[in-house]
């Protein structure tokens, strides 16, 4: 009797996983990966100094909360992918993610976190916690501007990474306003914009279930999500700093 229950449950699991296990791949359309910024400083650093120093400023996404292993966080993945794509270039990605923070707290530590690393590029993952906390949009925009100003005064290009497309964020009434403000500030301040929200939305609309890229708290990226964002971000950056290449496949060493 009990054996039969065991066998039945195993069969159930096998069927279930066959149905649910149709994994979809990590990808995004080329126009979504466009940063709309030439990242001159980063490009010059790669071309002339053969090095690229990146500060990943952000909250829990950056820190890697939700990944089973810190090496899966998108900053760590970014370093791995950039190194593979640019042999001979010394790539450093410094992880400055602190869970729970958003624009105001990050602006306060921008100088202290960017200056000692002599960053050529700051990837600033921001907006999600502001949207969850419902910080006023005007204040949010102001903080973004002053954060970018501090980083640029230290000689760094900026890539803004906007909100993640996950149940906890999608349910908010005005999450797209925060994404819009980020895009506006990026344009105004000459910063690049990595459209994480739109990219992840395209995954969802292509039929990728949340379980594949979000942890079951409905907020944080899991291993797949983190790795995929790291990979796509590296493609975006490579595309920006080597604009003459026409086709994708930035992973191919030259």
């Amino acid at each position: 009797m009990s054996r039969r229950i065991f066998a039945a449950s195993f069969a159930m699991v096998a069927l279930w996983s066959a149905a649910a296990g149709a994994e979809r791949q990590c990808r995004a359309s080329r126009n979504l990966l466009e940063l709309n910024n030439p990242l001159e400083i980063a490009r010059a650093a790669v071309a002339e100094e053969r090095q690229l120093r990146i500060v990943a400023m952000g909250s829990s996404s950056t820190q890697g909360y939700g990944a089973s292993n810190p090496k899966y966080s998108y900053p760590a993945q970014l370093q791995i992918k950039l190194e593979a794509a640019m042999p001979g270039v010394d790539v450093h990605v410094y992880n400055k993610g602190v869970g729970g923070q958003d624009a105001p707290e990050m602006v306060d530590r921008m100088r202290a976190d960017v200056k000692p690393e002599h960053a050529h590029l700051v990837v600033w993952q921001v907006g999600t916690n502001s949207a969850i906390r419902r910080d006023p949009l005007t204040r949010f925009a102001e903080k973004l501007r002053s954060g970018i100003d501090i980083g640029r005064s230290l000689g760094a290009n900026f890539v803004m990474m906007n909100l993640q497309y996950v149940p906890a964020v999608v349910a908010l009434p005005d999450e797209e306003d925060y994404a819009r403000v980020m895009a506006e500030v990026a344009r105004e301040k000459g910063a690049g914009l990595f459209r994480r929200f739109e990219i992840m939305r395209s995954w969802y609309n292509d039929g990728m279930p949340y379980a594949q890229f979000v942890t079951n708290d409905g907020l944080h990226l899991n291993d797949f999500g983190q790795k995929c964002i790291g990979k796509l971000l590296s493609m975006s950056i490579l595309e920006a700093i080597r604009p003459r290449r026409l086709t994708g496949a930035p992973n191919t060493p030259h």
């Binding site: 009990s2 096998a14 996983s17 810190p70 149940p167 906890a168 349910a171 009434p173 379980a211 708290d217």
Partner: protein
């Protein structure tokens, strides 16, 4: 032995902690939780579809912590009544020490396994990949932080939680037996305050906090502990047990639907924003109230469905699970270690389903064999002592 009992108010039913004999449900469900933890710790394991985590909000951690609280009262309350508080506190601290030693040993074995595999397969990137953050960069500091329980690499954060909970337990135990309801109210208040003020203990590297926040998770531990004192009084609710059961089933169905929606976008689109706004994020670090209630609903149904003398608890096929539950500390450590092995093997075979099935079965088999061996040693040492 009877003397000390007098100040405990005796009702017609016996409180669980004074009941004679061993409650097999505790062994069984703790063993099951250990099996689940093992299966869930192998990333993307299809066998983990057998575990509770895919069917609702809570997972095996709640089961494990709840039963730990319950058994802590069973194990130490009688001793306190018989031999007094100081001796009991010392005994509890001996257990805390055992847990601590086990955790440190596990840390060493875990790290050594990664180092061994990296050297044997000549793949230094594994050390980097599993990076025990900072251990490579600043080993001295990392060792200090490990000893302080602040540095807890992947999957090594359940035991530190248990250590902290048990270390505080002697100070709650007297109150627990005398004023159980006050204790549970205090525990809930502390939990609420922790969530509200966002308290947590510091971790390493700086800026990190405990993945399982002890100040929040204590509420699960003390629910178990308090029920070990007052569970017999739950019988007054039995008049409405089907009402409560219906509510529990409705809640589990709701949670099940939400959990299913993470796998099917067509279901996900049916959830209105205002509901999603209420439920997300479902925090694990501070055990979200939805998770806690989900666990309580399951526990209530289990209480109705599985009596202490339920026949299936004695089935031979299920004995391995019970044996694992009897030796939870050893089996937990072994399971964590094996889950890492399993992860490495599955990665080597490119996540193939056959490898997932095989490592799952092999891991559970090794855990069970170890549990039988532990029972055997225990019986032997008991035999020689008396």
């Amino acid at each position: 032995m009877r003397l000390g009992y007098q100040w405990v108010r005796m009702t017609e039913a016996v409180p669980p902690y004074l009941a004679p004999g061993r409650d097999l449900r505790l062994d069984f469900f703790r063993g099951l939780a250990l099996w689940f933890i093992y299966l869930d710790h192998v990333p993307n394991n299809i066998v983990s579809w057998l575990t509770v985590r895919n069917y609702g909000f809570s997972d095996a951690t709640e089961i494990f912590v709840f039963i730990s609280g319950y058994t802590a009262v069973i194990a130490y309350s009688r001793m306190m009544l018989r031999e007094g508080w100081p001796r009991t506190a010392v005994r509890i601290y001996r257990r805390v020490w055992q847990l601590y030693v086990a955790h440190i040993l596990l840390f060493v074995a875990f790290t050594a396994q990664i180092a061994y595999v990296s050297i044997a397969r000549d793949t230094p990137q594994l050390i980097e990949e599993m990076q025990l953050m900072g251990l490579g960069e600043n080993p001295y500091r990392a060792i200090v932080e490990t000893v302080l329980l602040k540095f807890r690499p992947v999957n090594l954060d359940v035991l530190p939680l248990y250590i902290v909970l048990l270390a505080a337990f002697p100070f709650a135990l007297p109150a627990l037996l005398r004023w159980p309801y006050t204790v549970i109210l205090a525990s809930i208040a502390f939990y609420a305050a922790t969530c509200h003020f966002n308290w947590n203990l510091p971790g390493y590297p700086d800026g990190k906090v405990w993945f399982f926040n002890p100040m929040a998770w204590q509420v699960v531990f003390y629910s178990g502990a308090v029920l070990a004192v007052v569970a017999h009084r739950l019988e007054i609710f039995d008049r409405w047990r089907w009402v409560a059961a219906s509510l529990a089933i409705a809640y589990l169905a709701f949670a099940g639907f939400i959990a299913l929606s993470w796998h099917y976008n067509s279901l996900e689109r049916l959830i209105p924003d205002w509901i999603a706004r209420q439920i997300y994020p479902i925090d694990k670090t501070n055990i979200d109230i939805l998770r806690f209630v989900h666990f309580l609903a399951m526990a209530w149904l289990v209480r109705l469905a599985v009596r202490p003398n339920a026949r299936f608890l004695k089935w031979r096929v299920l004995e391995p699970i019970r044996r694992c539950g009897e030796h939870s500390l050893q089996i937990f450590c072994l399971g964590t270690f094996l889950a890492l092995t399993a992860q490495i093997i599955v990665a080597r075979y490119e996540d193939s389903i056959v490898s997932q099935l095989l490592v799952s079965l092999a891991g559970l088999a090794i855990m069970s064999l170890a549990a039988y061996a532990a029972s055997w040693f225990k019986a032997e040492s008991r035999g020689t002592r008396t």
